[in-house]
């Protein structure tokens, strides 16, 4: 007998892993203690078991399973609340339209595109606004240049151009991004390009650190190049920044002196009656429950709403075909939809998916339109329309 006799039982016992309710032996390689926590199906199953009852019942969709693994909300807590870029390698300047003093969705997408350019190379996003604008930190702005309110008028593209040129002079950004919007962004981008003498890459539809591309030749072709300095960002092409707040540190806005050639500017009242349905902001719509079309038209005039209708009333000729709302008519994007006597066929509801506020007046409590509505009134349209006309007139005269 030369060697010592092996004791397999003792060897096995030495490899017992402490903890856990089942005995577990590390028979292969020695387990890494800092690894991913092992999943224990038995304890998961026990946690998912609904207590009480004669037969064992297991609810996999309950809170038990969610609690057993780290949820998606556990991740942001480990990161800092606000991301700060103290010493950026370069700056990307985004110029916001902010119509009415609030960031539009297109502005957010533009800042999101600037964010992707900045994040690719350790840069920072600076946003130029006029007056104070809320929500820039959430939109992904590291720096904010805010021209004091009053220096730039409501429609003042020449002053805005001078402000952008002054900001470019001050910050020396690697890229300047504008929203390609009819609210003024597209106009501003071209003014800046003409004054600075640089080429504008307008309506950029895809963008990375190496390449930007835009449509040309009436949309049939696209041209791609390394991202130039001046770009305007097409609508609905980029995702807005979603996630960590950024610093949005205020910088001093530079002084500027515009050359003014445009004279006085007056906003005009909207002529709701002549608008197309796709453009309209407030639509008064009639369906099969409306028989008094004179009162309907009068109501549209008094409220200043654009008239629309369901397929049935357009088929019967009460309204022209271009006034039809729904899958086979116009898909509307109005802010408010006031529906009289519309039951709400699926094809009609498809047409109003983008509408924010829906008011429905119908005699049937169980109509689909009543379920969709934010304010539903179970009444006859013929009685409510004249009452609403009278009430609106009374309130205006008061």
């Amino acid at each position: 007998m030369t060697g010592k006799r092996r004791d397999p039982r003792a060897e096995r016992q030495a490899r017992l892993i402490a903890g856990g309710e089942r005995k577990r032996f590390a028979l292969g390689a020695v387990p890494q203690p800092a690894g991913r926590p092992r999943r224990d199906p038995r304890s998961l199953r026990r946690a998912a078991t609904v207590p009480g009852g004669v037969r064992p019942r297991i609810d996999w969709h309950g809170g038990a399973r969610m609690a057993a693994r780290p949820g998606p909300d556990a991740r942001p807590q480990s990161q800092p609340e606000i991301r700060i870029t103290a010493d950026p390698a370069f700056l990307v300047l985004a110029v916001a339209d902010h119509p009415g003093g609030a960031l539009s969705e297109h502005d957010r997408e533009t800042i999101g595109a600037a964010r992707s350019l900045a994040d690719a190379g350790g840069g920072a996003v600076a946003v130029l606004t006029s007056g104070t604008v809320e929500g820039l930190a959430e939109a992904g702005a590291d720096r904010v240049l805010s021209v004091p309110a009053g220096h730039i008028g409501d429609y003042d593209p020449e002053a805005r151009t001078a402000a952008v040129l002054a900001a470019i002079d001050l910050l020396k950004p690697r890229h300047v991004l504008f929203p390609e919007s009819a609210e003024g962004g597209a106009d501003l981008a071209r003014r800046v390009a003409a004054l600075s003498g640089e080429r504008l890459f307008g309506g950029v539809a895809s963008l990375s650190a190496d390449a930007a591309s835009r449509r040309m030749r009436g949309g049939a072709m696209e041209m791609a190049a390394a991202p130039p300095r001046l770009m305007s960002i097409a609508e609905n092409a980029f995702a807005a920044h979603d996630g960590v707040r950024h610093e949005a540190r205020a910088l001093d806005a530079p002084a500027f002196a515009p050359v003014r050639r445009i004279g006085t500017v007056t906003p005009l009242a909207i002529e709701a009656g002549t608008l197309s349905l796709a453009d309209a902001d407030f639509i008064l719509s009639g369906g099969n429950g409306v028989t008094d079309w004179a009162a309907f038209a009068e109501l549209g005039r008094v409220l200043g709403a654009t008239l629309g209708g369901s397929r049935v009333v357009c088929d019967e000729g009460h309204l022209p075909r271009d006034r039809q709302v729904g899958a086979s008519g116009s898909l509307v994007t109005a802010r408010c939809y006031l529906a009289f006597g519309i039951a709400g066929a699926p094809q009609h509801l498809q047409g109003i998916t983008e509408v924010r506020h829906v008011v429905a007046i119908n005699t049937d409590l169980h109509a689909e339109m009543i379920k969709r509505a934010d304010l539903a009134i179970i009444a006859d349209a013929q009685a409510v329309m004249p009452a609403l006309v009278a009430h609106a007139k009374e309130r205006r005269d008061a």
């Binding site: 949820g71 429609y155 593209p157 609210e183 597209a186 071209r190 003014r191 003409a194 080429r199 504008l200 307008g202 449509r215 040309m216 030749r217 009436g218 949309g219 049939a220 072709m221 696209e222 041209m223 791609a224 995702a239 050639r261 445009i262 004279g263 006085t264 500017v265 007056t266 906003p267 005009l268 909207i270 608008l275 453009d279 309209a280 902001d281 407030f282 409220l303 200043g304 408010c336 006031l338 998916t353 506020h357 008011v359 409590l365 379920k371 969709r372 934010d374 304010l375 539903a376 009134i377 179970i378 009685a383 409510v384 009452a387 609403l388 009278a390 009430h391 609106a392 309130r395 205006r396």
Partner: protein, 256 residues
């Protein structure tokens, strides 16, 4: 009697790809015709033998000036030099061409070079001896009235009145005046990769939800409203409720 220069370009039919009159430039020409007593000068920079130019002549002009420049030339210097000589009170054109780079820069560069005022996206125009009144079209049917001194460069939006049809006889009879012009070659296109447009998948706004089941539910289910229901109110009560709701959501202004 204001003098109006209209800048015309050759369009491209979106389906067939054939040359046509550019719809926005045709609207600009129609707008120039709507000005009373205006002397309309139509100008094109490009190939004088392009048959689509006759469509503009068919709208009712006797003459069309073509600055003959090569295909890859930059039209801005030639147009600027010609307009400087012409010194019109107003320059009209479509807001975007369709067939070249489509950058929409030409009116801005001309306005900058000549020192004219520049107004974008107009839907209507009227002019007096020293001022022009332009109606600017904005999204959602909003309009803005802009009064500005002459001369002015204005681009025309799709909200402007539709152009008249082109008449075949007038198109045949019209005269094209050809002027030689210098155009430096445009080098941007050489630096870019140009390829056919590939339609991209539409970006969807994903709802932020914990699980895939919740996201699917948010994407597919019909949106339901806040669900305030009034059952058989009197017409006056209903009218008050509707009016208060519209005022609360700032759809209409409260009269009182």
């Amino acid at each position: 009697m204001p003098s109006v220069a209209v800048l015309l370009s050759v369009g491209r039919h979106p389906a067939s790809g054939r040359a046509r009159r550019a719809p926005l430039d045709a609207r600009a020409l129609e707008m120039a015709f709507s000005l009373p007593n205006a002397a309309v000068h139509a100008i094109h920079a490009g190939n004088p033998d392009e048959p689509a130019l006759r469509d503009y002549l068919g709208m009712g002009m006797e003459r069309l000036t073509v600055l003959s420049i090569p295909r890859d030339g930059d039209p801005v210097p030639a147009l600027t030099a010609h307009l400087e000589q012409l010194s019109p009170d107003m320059v009209l054109c479509g807001s975007r061409a369709e067939g070249g780079e489509d950058s929409g820069m030409v009116p801005y560069l001309i306005a900058h070079a000549l020192g004219y005022a520049m107004v974008a996206d107009i839907a209507a125009v009227s002019a007096s001896a020293a001022t022009a009144t332009l109606t600017q079209a904005l999204p959602r049917g909003r309009r803005r009235l802009i009064e500005t001194g002459l001369p002015v460069v204005a681009t025309v939006n799709t909200a402007a009145p539709a152009p008249r049809q082109s008449s075949f006889g007038r198109a045949r009879r019209g005269v094209i005046d050809i002027l030689a012009a210098d155009a430096p070659p445009d080098t941007l296109a050489d630096q870019c990769e140009i390829r056919p447009w590939r339609p991209r998948p539409k970006r969807m706004r994903l709802a932020a939800a914990a699980s895939a089941a919740d996201r699917l539910k948010a994407m597919t289910e019909t949106r339901s409203g806040e669900g305030a229901v009034m059952i058989q109110p009197s017409p006056e009560e209903a009218a008050r409720a509707i009016y208060a709701y519209l005022v609360e959501k700032r759809i209409i202004g409260d009269g009182s």
